[in-house]
């Protein structure tokens, strides 16, 4: 399906895996997770061959479909229980993690997962999958189906996580995550090309066939494609950038 993928995913910044549907993004995630064994080459972690068992978390589209407990608390604690953490540590740690995902334990801990709103369910699902804090966090389209507010908030959360864990996200909305120093692997026509956030934005702005980013962004930045350090894909950043460049141009 894809060949000669040579590169690395690190922590400190988020790693995005983009490409058309069917280009092999999900298969690559499964390969890293050890579920897909038809591959040649090596997956190394810190120089040694990566041993997935216990070291990763994996979610697919609509992770809410994984719920099988009757309370949010049980759902989040499950992963810790299965890793046989000390009994008195499980609940505090789970509650702390839930808090970090923006859900107050007092309000949510004992509720039934199906009672929550779409955005809340998504947060619980992602929290439940990552509570054991494995070094590698693999997410396949974690924002699909959310509205714009929900997407922005969760993207923020994942960017924060990425500081301490290796977070690899397959997404069709890279613009929500992108920071100039993000690491992007673009799978197309069986090959993988690596880009920094900045390079990716630049190429997309110049050529819609490369990657269709929101049209307003491409239009606004078309005249500035040669400038390094393109802004993030939100109105405020673009406005400041454009203003800055204009005043720069005026001075010259």
């Amino acid at each position: 399906m894809a060949e000669k993928i040579d590169g690395s995913f690190g922590c400190g910044r988020i790693n995005l895996l983009v490409g058309r549907a069917g280009s092999g993004k999900s298969s690559l995630l499964l390969t890293i997770a050890g579920f897909h064994s038809e591959f040649s080459g090596q997956i190394l972690y810190d120089g040694a061959v990566f041993q997935p068992a216990g070291n990763f978390s994996l979610t697919f589209q609509d992770p809410e479909s994984l719920f099988f407990n009757t309370s949010v608390g049980d759902e989040v604690e499950y992963s810790l229980r299965m890793r046989e953490l000390a009994e008195n540590e499980i609940t505090p740690r789970a509650q702390q993690w839930l808090q970090r995902w923006g859900l107050e334990p007092e309000k949510f801990y004992s509720r039934h997962p199906f009672e929550l709103s779409g955005g809340e369910k998504r947060r619980v699902a992602l929290a439940a999958c990552t509570v054991a804090m494995p070094p590698v966090i693999l997410l396949d389209e974690p924002l699909a189906g959310l509205d714009a507010n929900g997407q922005k908030a969760l993207a923020e959360m994942l960017n924060q996580l990425a500081r301490e864990h290796i977070v690899i996200v397959v997404t069709h909305e890279p613009e929500v995550f992108l920071h100039p120093d993000s690491n992007i692997l673009f799978l197309r026509e069986g090959q993988g090309s690596w880009f920094s956030g900045d390079d990716f934005l630049r190429q997309a702005v110049c050529n819609r066939d490369f990657y269709p980013l929101p049209r307003w962004y491409c239009h606004a930045l078309a005249p500035f494609a040669t400038v390094s350090s393109l802004p993030q894909v939100n109105a405020e950043a673009v406005a400041s950038f454009v203003a800055r460049e204009k005043s720069h141009a005026d001075k010259l």
Binding site: A21, G22, G118, E141, D147, P214, W216, A235, A239, A243
Partner: protein, 250 residues
Amino acid sequence: MIILDKVSFRYNEKSETSFKLKEVSFSCSKGSITGVIGGNGSGKSTVARLIAGMIEPQTGIVTVDGFAPFNHIGRCGFLAGIIFQTPDNQIVGTTVAEDLAFGLENLSVSYDEMQVRVRETAARFGLGDMLSTPVHYLSGGQKQLLCIASVMIMQPSWMIFDEPTSHLDPWARDNFWQTVKTFAREHDIGVMVVSQLAEDLHHFEQILAFNAGSLVFNGPIADLRASVEQLPWFRIPDAWKLEKILEARS
């Protein structure tokens, strides 16, 4: 032409007595793409289902081209078709041809006419040489195309799309909007798209905005843009925000 006149609707839920839709009235005509926007629980999906004839309003009247769509099947043509979010959960047939024919079987179309229409519609949507392909061999984009074709084969007067782009890749999204614009302009099919994505907004010409079961805005998109400050629940898309900020600065 779709007309809703003081329509109220409530699902039979024991826990709440709130109305899903409260006295909603509006009309839409063909020729322009109508967007139905609103957050979760705003009633926009209920409106889509009322127009598609899947549910009946408790009060008020819903008409499409002058007829009530509820249980209307077959009498005077197929009024409004609806496409939901997940293509896989809408495909009935085991092969492409069977799924295309499903709607026609329901409309009691004759055997000979069915064969012709299945072939023609498949060709029209680029599925012409895949008639006996089992459905699980299709890619995600092809499945969505099949869903659209399977409703279009019934020759509806209106097409309603319920959150069609949320699971598509960006290229497929572009393709989708191309297809939809072709329907609206060239094929005399009314198009209504239900969406909560901000970036879909600029594709719409008419907007119906719902909040907590009431219709809070009905008009062309330019008017929505002008009065955006008076709508506190509305999340302004980045494109509009940018223009406003740049205008303010210059």
